[in-house]
């Protein structure tokens, strides 16, 4: 067990936990930030995607000991009122079916658009390829990312 001060969604929070514990379970079990989802545990599905600094990472493969001073952002902290351009585009297109993978999709998309604000259709698809949607909302995901990209703030 070790003690960590983690910067999560703009707040510093202390936790005592096994250093190997993945951030996924720190967020879910300890901080009850359940928007970050457990899908596979082996970084294959993307349901657990969060931001570490500006980068989208798989929290199921991110030991708490490796986070250090870096800012962690989860779906709960992506925007104050659920009004990030990607979230708004998701609602406009009515993307979700079951909705389970969508937080991960949104976290991947929002980090991607920060690094590539004007992506082509193929670039969008490739960027989103690591996130599985079992319901098959892929065509709507592509459309929503495109809409978010065309809005000013993305």
């Amino acid at each position: 067990m070790a003690t960590y001060n983690l910067k999560i969604n703009g707040k510093t929070q202390e936790i005592e936990v096994d250093p190997n514990t993945p951030m996924l379970w720190v967020l879910r079990d300890h901080f009850k930030l359940v928007g970050t989802k457990f899908g596979c545990g082996i970084a294959q599905c993307g349901a657990c995607t969060i931001h570490l600094g500006d980068n989208a990472v798989r929290s199921c493969q991110l030991p708490v000991s490796s986070v250090g001073e870096q800012e962690v952002t989860t779906i709960e902290g992506l925007s104050e009122n659920g009004d990030h351009p990607v979230q708004k585009a998701w609602l406009e297109v009515d993307v979700p079916q079951c909705g389970y993978c969508q937080a991960g999709q949104i976290m991947t998309a929002s980090a991607f658009l920060k690094s590539n604000p004007n992506p082509s259709d193929d670039e969008i698809s490739t960027a989103m390829n690591g996130n599985i949607c079992r319901c098959g909302t892929y065509t709507r995901i592509k459309k929503a990312v495109k809409i978010a990209a065309s809005s000013d703030q993305a």
């Binding site: 067990m1 096994d18 514990t21 993945p22 379970w25 879910r28 079990d29 300890h30 009850k32 930030l33 359940v34 928007g35 970050t36 989802k37 457990f38 899908g39 596979c40 545990g41 082996i42 294959q44 599905c45 349901a47 989860t74 779906i75 709960e76 992506l78 659920g82 979230q87 998701w90 609602l91 009515d94 979700p96 079916q97 079951c98 909705g99 389970y100 993978c101 969508q102 937080a103 949104i106 259709d121 698809s125 490739t126 989103m128 390829n129 690591g130 996130n131 599985i132 949607c133 079992r134 319901c135 098959g136 909302t137 892929y138 065509t139 709507r140 995901i141 592509k142």
Partner: protein, 742 residues
């Protein structure tokens, strides 16, 4: 106007009582009213009050509508309340939707399966809204002392034109409570025995785009799913199940694991003790497991690795490869009775001018819902509270009652939003496991499966094989059709579906192979394979006849319309509606002009709905890349078009994905795929670039939509691949180009 019997007890009433928030509860006690006295109703928790649609009307005009059925991503949580709200005549923006708990005294068919939520719920939901509206009118007539028939409603308001009186539904509910005398029974307004439903042309909400009511919660990561349950004092539980199908628990050594951080207990559990009454929904439930109970999920996962369990069983267990041989033998073996026989197939086939014969196959599939199986249970000596993702809460409650030896009324089941269902959560043995573990651990627990547990303890889509034979006469007319289907624990064939009724000499046979690999319903059971195989073979026959695939099919539907073979009542489809979707997709896709794309067509009927598709693709490094799919659907009245299209798109992508990439195989009883690194699911770059959906507007009562777009797309894909390569694919998954099941 449509009049329906309301099926409402005569003691139904408007009952009002003050809510903490100042609103009014207007309860309409429905079927339950024949069982409950007003006193009993009064003592119920407010959220549990009603039936068939529960309405809470607040004095500020907000209306809460309960959504009775489990939500698995098919979006009934939006669509079902839309139906109530339309008949109630309120503004959709004033509606708040809540998920109802399991209460079979009050609600009907709280089950997600067979694409039947809307079809089965349609009349009851309309009735719920219409009766509530009628009773509000009755209350207004009493309050204003005017004839009820002179009162009209619009968008949550009651009007009486002659006296120029108006009141909101909320105000009328408030007025009703103010006249209630504390010592007397509540003001009673009897529900009518017959109720007038709206003319479908007067719908204001049904048929319009309404976004997912949980959308804002989903995109902001609010707790919605069973796995998001965290209750005070709750522990986490995980299980270890037999590593191979056919093994049973022998012994374990938990010494090391029990000493690990956070671990509270590790024990062997008998989930289904002797004498326990199982339901069909227990599916592949494994009788004996090992449970690990700890403080956190990660700690349980570590203990699981350290735990040593020994299993008993024969040294040789079942393998996928041997199923291939066994299914082939069954394909050739005679059956006792044909499933359907019209004319004389053998005679016609033997004398046919042209003949064709093909065999198609498909492997086992796992459901792989993105949210792994999980359930929360808090079992005490006399009560069980369960909450989680379940498509069949009613049956789970029965099994839990039997296993815990506890009366049904002491068991509460809450339904959470589900991170996918696809049939997997029809089989709720994980809920039973949670209850048994909570009881033994003497603590509230949330059972969570790892992805590996989820994939390797499945209730899989069966492996299938089908043999077709067809014969043409000298004029290239189809005169003989034979189908024989075999599957693991399933016999595959719907003998009265197309082309039964359209071919003079028709013979359908079916049989199944018993296996220890547990199988069950997987999105569009049987149809998910037989549709693609049949529609692929149909193209083979059309080509042999030298005819256009769509014209060939239309000619058969024409035969079934004008001169059906056999008893037309037996045929499980309407040939006119079938032909209708095919014609619609032909027009929308501009069928004869495919440009440089390889194009395939397919049509299928299942879950009471008709779907036809045209699919364009290009081959890229020997892999199909689907460019576009056009889809025509006849599911009667469409409740919520934006969401209906989502279901169509999802079914198409699901169908393409599994037929192209996915398989579950077994060696000596051991599942060979455990997680998404070796079980391939379709991904974003592999999905069609565009999907266009069109609905037939015919005003017929709504039918299924969650499943019907999946089965035919496999045929459209196979037919387009044939166009592109000149080589027909017979075995799924298509990218392997070899038989997986043998």
């Amino acid at each position: 106007m449509t009049f329906v019997k309301t099926k409402i007890g005569r003691r139904s009433f408007i009952r009002t009582s003050a809510l903490a928030g100042g609103g009014m509860v207007v309860g309409f006690s429905w079927l339950a009213s024949c069982k409950m006295t007003p006193e009993e109703v009064n003592s119920l928790p407010k959220e549990w009050f009603d039936i068939n649609g529960f309405l809470k009307i607040a004095d500020n005009g907000l209306v809460t509508i309960m959504s009775p059925n489990p939500e698995i991503g098919q979006n009934v949580k939006t669509a079902m309340p839309m139906i109530v709200a339309d008949e109630l005549d309120v503004d959709w923006k004033d509606v708040i939707v809540e998920q109802a708990p399991l209460n079979m005294d009050v609600f009907q068919r709280q089950l997600a399966g067979g694409s039947q939520s809307i079809r089965a719920g349609w009349e009851g939901l309309r009735m719920a809204g219409a009766t509530a509206r009628k009773m509000l009118k009755q209350a207004a007539a009493k309050a204003w002392e005017v004839p009820e028939e002179e009162i009209t409603t619009s968008m949550g308001m009651l009007h009486h034109k002659a006296s120029n009186k108006s009141a909101s539904y909320g105000e009328m509910a408030s007025a009703a409570v103010s006249i209630e005398k504390p010592d007397e029974a509540p003001e009673t307004i009897e529900a009518p025995e017959e109720i007038e439903l709206k003319d479908i042309k007067d719908f204001t909400i049904i048929g319009t785009d309404r976004k997912n009511v949980d959308g804002p919660s989903i995109v902001t990561g609010k707790p919605l799913f069973g796995i998001d349950t965290y209750e005070e004092g709750m522990l986490t539980a995980m299980i270890v199940h037999p590593p191979a199908f056919g093994l049973t628990f022998k012994s374990m050594n938990a010494d090391e694991a029990k000493g690990m951080p956070g671990i509270k207990d590790i024990f062997h559990v008998n989930v289904y003790p002797e004498g326990a009454e199982k339901q069909w929904s227990d599916g592949g439930g494994i009788p004996e497991l090992v449970a690990i109970v700890g403080e956190s999920t990660w700690q349980c996962m570590q203990a699981k690795k350290a735990l040593k369990v020994e299993w008993d069983g024969p040294s040789t267990l079942e393998s996928t490869a041997s199923y291939g041989d066994d299914l082939n033998k069954l394909l050739d073996a005679p059956v006792k009775e044909p499933a359907r026989k019209d004319g004389d197939f053998n005679k016609a086939f033997n004398s046919a001018a042209k003949k064709i014969e093909s065999i198609y196959s498909a492997p086992f599939l796992a459901h792989n819902t993105m949210e792994p199986m999980n359930f929360y249970a808090k079992v005490t000596d006399d009560k069980a509270l369960l909450s989680g993702p379940i498509q069949t809460p009613e049956f789970l409650e029965k099994t839990v009652s039997s296993v815990l030896d506890m009366p049904l009324e002491n068991i509460e089941i809450d339904m959470t939003r589900m991170g996918g269902g696809f049939g997997r959560r029809l089989y709720g043995s994980f809920g039973v496991e949670a209850a048994v573990i909570s009881k033994k651990a003497k603590a509230p627990i949330k059972l969570v499966y790892s992805r590996e547990d989820d994939m390797t303890q499945g209730t899989y889509r069966p492996a299938y094989k089908v043999k077709f034979k067809a014969g043409l006469d000298a004029e290239n007319n189809l005169i003989a059709w034979y189908v024989k289907g075999v599957g693991t624990n399933d016999d595959l064939i719907f003998e009265n579906r197309f082309p039964a009724g359209a071919v003079d000499n028709y013979l359908a046979e079916k049989t199944s192979l018993e296996t220890k690999i547990t199988t069950g319903a997987w999105r569009a059971p049987r149809s998910n394979f037989i549709a693609g195989a049949e529609q692929s073979f149909m193209d083979e026959v059309a080509e042999l006849a030298g005819k256009d695939p769509i014209e060939f099919r239309l000619a058969l539907f024409d035969r079934a319309i004008k001169d059906p073979v056999g008893d037309p009542e037996k045929n499980d489809y309407d040939p006119e509606r079938y032909a209708g979707v095919l014609k619609l997709v032909k027009e929308k896709s501009n069928w004869s002009n495919s440009g440089d794309k390889a194009r395939g067509v397919s049509a299928y009927y299942c879950h009471n709905s008709y779907v036809a598709q045209v699919l364009d693709l290009t081959m890229n490094n020997n892999q199909p890349k689907v460019d576009k799919v056009w889809c025509a659907v006849d599911c009667g009245i469409v409740i919520n078009p934006i969401s209906a299209k989502n279901q169509i798109e999802g079914g198409i992508i699901d169908g393409i994905g599994h037929a192209t990439y996915s398989q579950m195989t077994f060696e000596n009883g051991v599942p060979q795929q455990e997680n998404f690194d070796d079980y391939r699911l379709i991904r974003n770059t592999e999905a069609p670039k565009a999907i266009e959906s069109y609905f037939v507007d015919n005003g017929i009562d709504p039918t299924g939509l969650g499943e019907p777009s999946l089965p035919p797309v496999v045929g459209a894909l196979a037919n387009a691949m044939y166009k592109a390569t000149g080589k027909r694919v017979y075995n799924q998954p298509f990218i392997l180009e070899k038989e997986v099941v043998g």
